[in-house]
Amino acid sequence: MLEVKDLWKRFKIPKKGIVEAVKGASFTVTPGRIFGLLGPNGAGKTTTLRTIATIFSPSKGDILYKGKSIFDDKLAHRKRLGFISGNTGVYDRLYPEEVATYFGRLNLVEDHLIKSRFKEIVEMLNMGDILKSRCGKLSTGEKQKVSIARMLINDPEILILDEPTNGLDVISSRTIVNFIKESKGKGKTLVLSTHILSEAEYLCDDVGIMHKGEMLYSGDLKELRSSYKDIPLESVFFKLVGEEI
């Protein structure tokens, strides 16, 4: 179980001074359930996810995994973590297998495991036809598949997905959505951020709604919907942030 406890993140930005990107966010992610972090651009979702990935250190608060702070041993935490975002690039001059192998080696995965896992991933994501192309020649959707392969090569327990379908066409989005559902079935700890509320409605079991750095709600999606008489999630969101549709 991943527990985010009273997370604060402040940045010192030239000419702007101190900016509070996340203001006391708390939520719990249960293995086998998808936690959706929802909110508009600038809500603090990416900062929260980067902090879970230990790319950022919290200004205040803590994040626990299986009861221990992830910041006590960042390398061990990252070893069981897969991170992907909609803006994640791939190395244009490398082949998909080289990208996956590189990240496998960085995460100290043995070469024979990298090979066998990569084979499985290629089958799962149906990416056999792109293996002989350098990543720079691939479409956005194909690049995202390479990113997923790169993320899964160390068989992570926790998957952090920051707007993973951003900019993808319908078919590529469907592949990603299916992969997320499959990962849920495998009991992974999944945190997904999105501003596409219909996607969240379809995928997530639990949600956290963020706005201007604050966590307005975190908990079961069904409970949230029923407390608002099952109106669409988009309407719930606007009611929570106190703005008219």
């Binding site: 940045f11 010192k12 930005i13 980067r50 990935a53 230990t54 790319i55 950022f56 250190s57 390398l75 061990a76 990252r78 070893k79 973590l81 991170f83 992907i84 975002s85 803006n87 994640t88 690039g89 791939v90 190395y91 244009d92 001059r93 490398l94 080289e98 590189y102 990240f103 080696r105 960085l106 995460n107 100290l108 350098r134 990113s147 790169r150 993320m151 160390n154 952090i160």
Partner: protein, 387 residues
Amino acid sequence: MRAGIIWSIFKKEVLDLIRDKRSIIGVILIPLIAMPLLMGGVSVFMASRMKKVTQETVNIGYLTAEEKAHMSAIFTEVDINWVLIKREDIAQFLKDKKLHFVAEFGTENSSEVYTFHYDKANTSSDLKYRKLRSALADYENVLIKEILVEHGVPDNIWDTVMVKIENIASEKKMKSMFLAMLLPYMLILITMSGASYPATDLSVGEKERGTLETLLAASILRKEIVIGKYLTTVLVALVSSASSLISISLTFRLLPSSSQFAAEISFQTMITAFFAILPVAMIFSALVFAIASFAKSMKEAQGYIGPLTMAVIFPAMVSIFPGFEADMSTVFIPIVNISLLLKNIILGDVRGYYLIITLLESFLLAGFFIIMAFRLFDRESVIFKGE
């Protein structure tokens, strides 16, 4: 830090750069082909132009037949085309470049006075003037000797003060002078430009392409990322400087021995020069990497590196300027000491203390910049600058 992780990063970055046409062209092909072509071409072209200019017919305007007759007798060794003109046309003829000179002859207080009208900014005329001046000096000597003899003064009075020069420099050293002045400056600049492309590509380039975030989320230390990328940058800078060292040396060796630029440096000298360039590669790789890490885009990084290159040009040029020696007054000045060390290596005149202090100082400086890169890479505001 784990050597295996650093090795993985290094291998991947080298592979990535090898597949990048821009880096191959900039790092290997340009130093290997373009530089010698440029230098060799300039040298051969200059020599041929000099030869042509000094051998071609000199067009000289004159005002009277008497003047022409007198001057023709002096300039017997020079191929001259004499053109009779009027005084009022002097300026126009020179302006139109129909003549190289207009020469006048007259006397003043029993002195022979030769007046040359010409455009001193015209290199061709200036070179030709030197030939005429030399012929006049010879004529003057003969004349003075005749006068001295007429007055019963022994003509060896000319030898009252004699200057003898015993040049202790070997012919090889003399031949290497031009190369020794030019090569340090060129090597330093080429090493810096060799480091600039990979340093920016591997730091801010990775930010721009959106691959840095995933690297930061991998189970590795940021110091390992910096070292892996830094070593790649050093390697590329060294390959670039080795390419230029080899090609420039070969170019100078292949120039005709009559050329004033022809020089020969031994294999051993080349190896020593290569090792002397190692600290330059280390310093620039670390410095440019740190600067580029600070930038939010390749464009911004180039904006920082441009002035840095300008700042390096002057200290690197001390090998060309007279008056700078490899001694205690220069040994602690970064880049200046390396430039002079390289110069002395090519001339075969290296002092042990200079070598040791220069290398030690350079390694310390490189270490300082690496620590700076570590710190910058650890700062979230720097890594995600502009987001």
